[in-house]
Symmetry: C2
Subunit: 234 residues, 2 copies
DNA sequence: GTGCCATACTTACGCTGTACGTGTTGTACG
DNA sequence: CGTACAACACGTACAGCGTAAGTATGGCAC
């Protein structure tokens, strides 16, 4: 009773955030996201549930962290040459593959409200692709909404609005400024949206408009295929 | 103690599924979906939690039922005349309005795995619109995937696969036959998918193909807008 | 040595969904 | 009218959850 704990203490690898996240990811991979509880993750590490709270704020934070681990597995773009559609498509499929390795990821991602660092980095790189292809700021913004999280490798709307649109404007300014260094393209869009909606309450984007924009984009594309099909066959 | 219960019993309206579902919907509307527990719903009806189980199988079933209530509020189509895109668009926006009346609905719908009756009816009517506009079976199938639950008034993939693709084939046949009467258009698609994948394991649809189909549809639409924008300005 | 600080452990609270057994009810039939 | 019955609300109980709060056990700076 006096020796046992000491020896156990000695050869115990100390916990850290990375180990906690990795254990959680492994558990979710193996037994599904519904089997993931703080107690089970602790068990996985030979540790009590409460010990995890030294490294993650709460379960929400744990899920955010797990997601970030998955997103960190998205390979960087191979090339920057050629048709933007090819580059974009390729990168989306890479992201899709990363997410498919962790089947729980796509269901978790939709329940999150704040983007993780790797998420921001990824989005920034995708925005960069279309911007460099000559998309206007406006069109870029609409494009990202239309693609929704198809950009992430599956089909689903991303976040409700740009973080907390109702927050302190001064804080927002600072946040955007800090973001601008790391994620210039994303920051550009955020600034624009913010400017457009200076006097507007609620969400930073016109959800109704963005929804109809995306809907019409698809309907028009389908109409084109319909008329082609009409020309080819009956 | 002997009289009290009797009088209370007398003027108690007996529970039924509809009352349970309505109380649950009201509670979720008022206090959010995370506040919805069996105990709270019971409380809402002046009844213990366990009494609800006489009318719903479990919480999953309760959520399915609640969703069906919301979907039943989608108004029937106004007209069947004119451009299919206009008709389709109009109906989607009607569905969107119904879902917006219950903010929790869109988050709940994505966690469901089986379509509810009203859901099937709605999908059937949407498939009917494009079929009557001359879409081939194939194109219709791809179209529904591409639209995802944009058809429902928000953007998100629908169900993992067509119900239980791995189930007993004989049971499936029966199911499809029964479906054919009520939902002819939906049944037609289901039959086709089933036929195409006779010898294929896993999901009833080629997820990879459908995903890329939808992605390319949007990318092509965006490319068109990009080149137009290039011609007009810059 | 001594104090400090990080961190792991323990206990406990209030909540969840729901299995199981009991009692009361309105209704159908002799 | 009396009785049997099926429907159904109730109460209790259990295993699990996230996490607040307090306690014990290191390694490390002085």
């Amino acid at each position: 009773m006096t020796i046992e704990p000491q020896t156990r203490e000695r050869d115990r690898i100390p916990l850290d955030r990375q180990r906690v996240l990795q254990a959680a990811v492994q558990l979710a991979d193996r037994e599904g996201i519904e089997a993931l509880s703080m107690r089970r993750v602790g068990q996985q590490l030979g540790v009590e549930a409460m010990s995890l709270y030294n490294h993650v704020a709460n379960k929400e934070d744990l899920l955010d962290g797990m997601l970030d681990v998955v997103l960190s597995e998205i390979d960087p773009p191979l090339t920057d040459e050629g048709d933007w559609r090819r580059i974009f498509h390729e990168r989306v499929m890479t992201a899709r593959r990363a997410l498919k390795r962790h089947p729980w990821a796509s269901t978790v991602i939709v329940s999150r409200v704040n983007p993780t660092p790797h998420m921001l980095a990824y989005m920034d790189s995708m925005i960069g692709i279309v911007r460099r292809a000559g998309f206007s700021l406006d069109l870029t913004h609409h494009a990202m909404h239309a693609l929704g999280s198809r950009t992430m490798g599956f089909a689903q709307e991303l976040f409700e609005d740009s973080a907390d649109a109702g927050a302190d404007p001064a804080v927002m300014d600072l946040m955007i400024k800090q973001m601008a260094e790391q994620f210039p393209y994303a920051a550009e869009i955020a600034t624009k949206v913010r400017h457009d909606n200076e006097s507007v309450v609620g969400s930073g984007c016109d959800d109704q408009f963005e929804f109809e924009f995306g809907l019409n984009l698809i309907l028009d594309g389908l109409e084109r295929l319909r008329s082609e099909q009409g020309a080819a066959a009956s």
